[in-house]
Symmetry: C2
């Protein structure tokens, strides 16, 4: 376990929301000198607490209008077929997230595509032909209220 104090949490909170902040700006925001921000930030990167920095893009601006959640149930639970399925979804660029779940659905996929036709193509031409796949059930996101994926840091102090 990596020891994180209140300053670290505040740095993480600031950078999680806006990684374009300079050390100077973070410094002013949380009341710690810029050189300390620099050192702590490097430690947080090296320790893997900060995994990466990324640009968050606007799906609409890129013509990606459809977000769907696809529940997949596997049938014949052969190890080999399941492995193939996992490799496939991991490699698919349209798949934003893939989780195995408790409950009646084995996998939940978050998929983003240009239009419904593209979703249909993925389901019919990529997912369903997989040997391991028994059933696919998809729901379209009609409205996205929140999608920031900010981890809650407040309860960790």
């Amino acid at each position: 376990m990596i020891a994180l104090d209140g300053f670290d949490m505040k740095i993480l909170g600031a950078l999680q929301e806006n990684a374009a902040l300079t050390n100077q700006e973070v410094s002013e925001r949380i009341g710690l000198s810029a050189s300390q921000i620099s050192r702590r930030r490097q430690k947080l990167e090296n320790d893997g607490v900060i995994r990466r920095y990324r640009a968050a893009l606007d799906p609409e601006a890129l013509g990606l209008t459809v977000t769907a959640f696809v529940g997949v149930t596997l049938g014949a639970h052969s190890r080999e077929n399941a492995r193939k399925f996992r490799n496939m979804v991991t490699a698919m660029p349209e798949v934003q997230e893939a989780h195995t779940l408790t409950g009646d659905v084995d996998y939940l996929l978050k998929i983003v595509v240009r239009d419904l036709k593209a979703l249909s193509r993925i389901i019919n031409d990529e997912l369903l032909p997989q040997e391991a796949v028994q059933n696919v059930r998809s729901s379209i996101a009609m409205e996205t209220l929140k999608d920031d994926n900010f981890l809650p840091l407040g309860d960790n102090l």
Copy 2:
């Protein structure tokens, strides 16, 4: 609609995966001068194609071991109660994503918390007491195969 050419797409692709790349590094990677990267990047930011830069944190390192998908069905569809519910989930730090879905579940929430006790508290003390909420059904993510939320850019050229 904002016009994006192949260079823009490559810049977006690079920054989506690693926003810590310098303009110089992006420049070498895609074959355009650093000054052009700078100019194009600013345009992409101003046009809102790049929404923000953010640090992606490691949930495990922060002690956030439980990811859950919670399906919520609303009962009495009074506008006011539904509005309260939406405001609440939007404000909850544990809620990473909230979408309204087609199908038999009204809302799907992606929730990240420290442990199952925290999840239980959220469901029983925050979600269920809401007047609008009729039913809550949660699934725990046992394994996350993929969680990068990278938008697919290849099919947009």
